[in-house]
Amino acid sequence: MLIGKPADIRYSEITPRATYLRRREFLQAASVAAVGTAAALVPSLPAVAEAQVQGPGVLPKLPNVKTSALSTTEKQSAYADFSTYNNFYEFGTDKASPAINAKRFRTRPWKIAIEGHVAKPAAFDFDEFVKPYALEERIYRHRCVETWAAVVPWIGIPMADIVKRVEPTSKAKFIEFVTLFDPAQMPGQRDEILQWPYIEGLRLDEAMNPLTILAVGMYGEVLPNQDGAPIRLVVPWKYGFKGGKSLVKIRFVESMPRSTWMIKEPPAYGFYANVNPMVDHPRWSQTRERRLGEFLPRRTTMFNGYADQVAKLYAGMDLRRNY
């Protein structure tokens, strides 16, 4: 029933920067009058411009990546956008900060631990951890709670494959994903902006859903540091903050984890954080979204358009209360 998408659409679909900039003619028209006097001025965002120069094509390519029927054929966001516009508070709270502050972030050696209610708890070297699994490309819609969105070609491992291999015991009901805590490398962690380390969680059945992956790459290459290298969670029907980055621990637990954002602002952030146009965030109506590189907003769809695959996980639940 599921139809594999044509493989050749992907990389050619990435709009060249020059082309997508031309689409912002509305903004341009408003500014044309001022440009004459401004022509001599240096653009005020040298840091962003600098970060935009890199990739794809700079970081190592990931070989032997399978395509997946779960990928969308929608137009992908520009690499330059998705790698310079990041919420990764460990590296600063401005969108441009992670691309700058994560430049020298060390992702090797990297340890990742499987803990809690599993048959074989163990700490792995990252490359050893990834080795047994086949990598798949998953082109997913991405929706941030701040109402911006994107389409991203992730490369990763189905979380279900990992869960099966580590053999959770009957006590394992939830999984907690823990990001690295290293204030020496992560300047954002020197302030108590959030409770560190960053923690996210999924119900075991959510983690086992075929859509859930641990991503190790994007756009054909390894993840850039600012997007959560070397390994991060991707749950495309939930708001982006559910996707914990630079993971060091995957803990199988019995009771529902309290995620970092739940601790920060309980009325605004619940455990589930499913994309839901009917349930507002106190700061943002969630009925619409704007994709990076696009001018006109789009209507947000239930579960970010993945209702067919995931609505059954929440059958009978009041999603207004379980936000």
Binding site: V35, A80, K95, R283
Partner: protein
């Protein structure tokens, strides 16, 4: 009393105050407004509106502390520049953020405290801007000064709007709150001093 130095200073500062707007326009033209241009424009215009609002509130303390009376002639200019950035900020919200969707905007104003406060602040600033002409000053007489004291409310509103908008990192709104507290605190201290001096 058109002494050249303050006139030249005012023009130079006005030109400098408009540089951010020119640079934003250029960045819009050059496609340099980050991956989310609308959000970036809102953040920048909001920042500059607060900066110039604070600048306008710094004039009276400077005058009182230094005795340099002419500096008062910078106040209206800073206030109007703040209003210019606030107006661009609100126009972008009407157009590029909300696409003239009146129902959504009304809902946002009612439901989201940071927008409620932001809109209230903008209405106050609008009233102050339209009554900033010499004609209005003459017509309103004593009431002009009473009306323009509302700038204190607007400044508090602007900082609260910023504070409630951020998700987690309150560093920058907190900085403005400290500066604003100092500027308003100076006025209270000055009033209290004037009262005790006149009593003795």
């Amino acid at each position: 009393m058109n002494t050249p130095p303050i006139g030249i200073l005012r023009r130079a500062l006005l030109a400098a105050a408009l540089v951010p707007a020119v640079m934003l326009a250029y960045d819009a033209y050059a496609g340099n407004l980050t991956a989310n241009p609308v959000e970036y424009l809102e953040n920048e215009t909001g920042d500059w509106a607060i900066i110039f609002l604070i600048a306008s509130l710094a004039i009276t303390p400077i005058r009182r502390l230094t005795g340099w009376n002419e500096v008062i002639r910078l106040r209206k200019m800073f206030g109007l520049v703040a209003y210019f950035y606030a107006a661009v900020h609100v126009v972008i919200w009407f157009t590029l953020v909300s696409f003239f969707d009146v129902a959504t905007m009304a809902e946002d104003i009612v439901k989201r405290p940071f927008i409620t406060v932001g809109m209230g602040t903008f209405l106050i600033l609008t009233a102050l801007a339209v009554t900033s002409t010499t004609g209005a000053i003459r017509r309103l007489g004593r009431r002009w000064q009473q009306l323009h004291r509302a700038v204190y409310v607007a400044a508090i509103g602007a900082v609260v709007h910023f504070w409630w908008l951020v998700k987690a990192d309150i560093t920058r709104p907190r900085q403005w709150a400290v500066v604003l507290t100092l500027l308003l605190g100076f006025r209270l201290w000055w009033m209290w001093r004037a009262r005790t001096l006149s009593r003795s």
